[in-house]
Amino acid sequence: MIRSAFPRRPLLLGAAAAGLAGPGLAQGIEPAEAPRRAERWRDLKEAIFGDRRTEPAGNAIALEAPARALDAAAVPISLALAAEVVPQVRALYLVIDENPSPLAARFQAGPSGDLRVLSTRVRVDAYSFVHAVAETADGRLLETARFVKAAGGCSAPVGGNLEAARQRMGRMRMALPEGPPAAGRAVPVQVALSHPNTSGLQMDQLTRLSIPAEFMRELVVTYRGAEVLRIESDIAIAENPTFGFALLGEPGGELRVVAADNRERRFEGSWTLASAG
């Protein structure tokens, strides 16, 4: 199951490499760049969705991303679906066009969940479009985009103290900013896994260092034994992968998170969501 994640990734990496070789890398949003960016997105769509057509999402998806990233290592992204499409959307793809590995995450709604709100933090390597594509139960693909300017200064996609993440690897956090779920009311939940989530390096030319790749591939959330959300992801997700989603259901159940990384390490956390009062 874990191995089947992102079956087209080699192809995506190829597409990314071709884009990086282009002369116009990271030139901002000058009009001259527009055709290259459009072509890149066409290539990425073909790599991810084959010959399936996408259509503009219009008001169906609200994608929020900062116009200028504060920190290249953790750019907050959030998505909200319009109420009328919530029942239809079963999967959602998040793509950062100019990243070395553009497909950041695929979110799949479980039988007892939906994708009405999602949030995460991603690495943004360059000036890039961030695309979200919602897949409906009847096979439509709804796309939307935001342009993110990369962070400047000393900021870099790999954060400043990965050792701290590694030392507590596997520790999980869960937060309920608005309290436990209540009957008929979806509440926001945030879960996070301490993990360096790095692509690693094969023999860096300058330092001759090799750093092994360590990244989270899958995270599954269940509540009261039923799957709520399944996330497939890779190195575009920031260190200490953090995800927000909505949870529906009666209070008092057990929320369970199971994650796995590329080295087949398994991480688990569970919390009983007390009934209010």
Partner: protein, 311 residues
């Protein structure tokens, strides 16, 4: 050279804290902050083709036998300017290149010294940081500086200092003591103490006037500054700010900013404010006291948030 005019202006601002420092080395722009200790002051701007990424304070220490360069500058051109300043001041050879940390404004001028075959010294954590960031910084310099950034690059360390350890560099009649710190400004900060003149070269462990950038550990940085406060030194060389400032007094504003950043970020996390919204809630009145706050404060809040949410 337009960058020079601006730099002179900035040096003038900084000088308000101390008596006007003597300038030597001809028109190279270096300031001799203590006998044999030279600083090429950076401008308080973001990197650009006009300032050649000469935005951080870099410089060198001259012994009786050799010279140690502390940070080779932010670009090839900036590094070349520093190398010319060394030549203008002394005929002695550069034997050591000390890298204070990975940030581009401090290391990307390394290529200006590549042909000298010098010993390159860094914190034990520096090679990993360079491996993970060097290519990204090179691309960023090209984006920010265009062709003015061409040929810039860091030199790989040939000698490492383990955290908590010291390394004494004998420059002939003068010993420079290098200390590798636990995570603070970055996770691999190296400082240098010139005991002869009581000059503590802190690089980006100390910011003055220009807003600090947090890229290591917020509580860690406060702890390192507290420990450094006990070092007997008359002056410190900050990574950004005047060429030299009184020590430890000049750390006051930085400690105040870091303290407020930590307290208000903790409060935002406790109040359930998300990472995207936190920058507009945290320490904005304090940040407004600093230059370039608009470019770095929000990022500092994000970095603080990502660290403190795991406490």
């Amino acid at each position: 050279m337009p960058a020079f005019g601006r730099r002179a202006l900035m040096a003038g601002c900084g000088a308000a804290l101390l008596a006007p420092p003597p300038v030597s080395g001809g028109d190279t722009g270096v300031v001799e902050v203590a006998p044999g200790v030279f600083v090429l002051p950076g401008v308080m701007e973001e990197a650009s083709s006009a300032n050649l990424d000469g935005i951080g304070n870099v410089g060198f220490v001259v012994g009786e036998a050799a010279v140690a360069v502390i940070d080779p500058g932010g670009s090839l051109a900036h590094g070349q300017r520093l190398r010319q300043a060394v030549s203008a001041v002394t005929p002695l050879p550069v034997r050591h290149l000390v890298l204070s940390h990975v940030h581009p404004d401090h290391v990307m001028g390394g290529t200006a010294f590549a042909d000298l075959g010098v010993e390159v010294i860094g914190h034990a954590g520096l090679p990993a940081a360079l491996a993970q960031r060097h290519d990204f910084y090179a691309a960023m310099l090209e984006r920010e500086m265009g062709s003015a950034g061409k040929g810039s690059g860091a030199l790989a360390p040939t000698r490492l200092v383990e955290p908590g350890q010291e390394l004494a560099l004998d420059l002939g009649g003068r010993v420079l003591v290098l200390t590798a710190h636990p995570p603070a400004h970055t996770d691999h900060d190296l400082s240098a103490l010139d005991r002869r003149t009581g000059t503590l070269w802190l690089a980006d462990l100390l910011f003055v006037e220009r807003i600090p950038s947090l890229d290591g550990s917020l509580p860690g940085w406060r702890g390192v500054l507290a420990a450094l406060g006990a070092v007997p030194a008359a002056r410190a060389v900050p990574g950004h700010g005047p060429a030299a400032v009184p020590w430890p007094g000049a750390a006051g504003p930085l400690l105040r900013y870091l303290d407020m950043l930590e307290r208000e970020t903790r409060a935002a996390i406790a109040a359930g404010i998300g990472i995207a919204e936190a920058p507009s809630h945290v320490a904005n009145a304090e940040a407004a006291q600093w230059r370039l706050a608009e470019a770095y404060h929000g990022r500092n809040v994000t970095a603080a948030y990502r660290e403190l949410e795991w406490e």
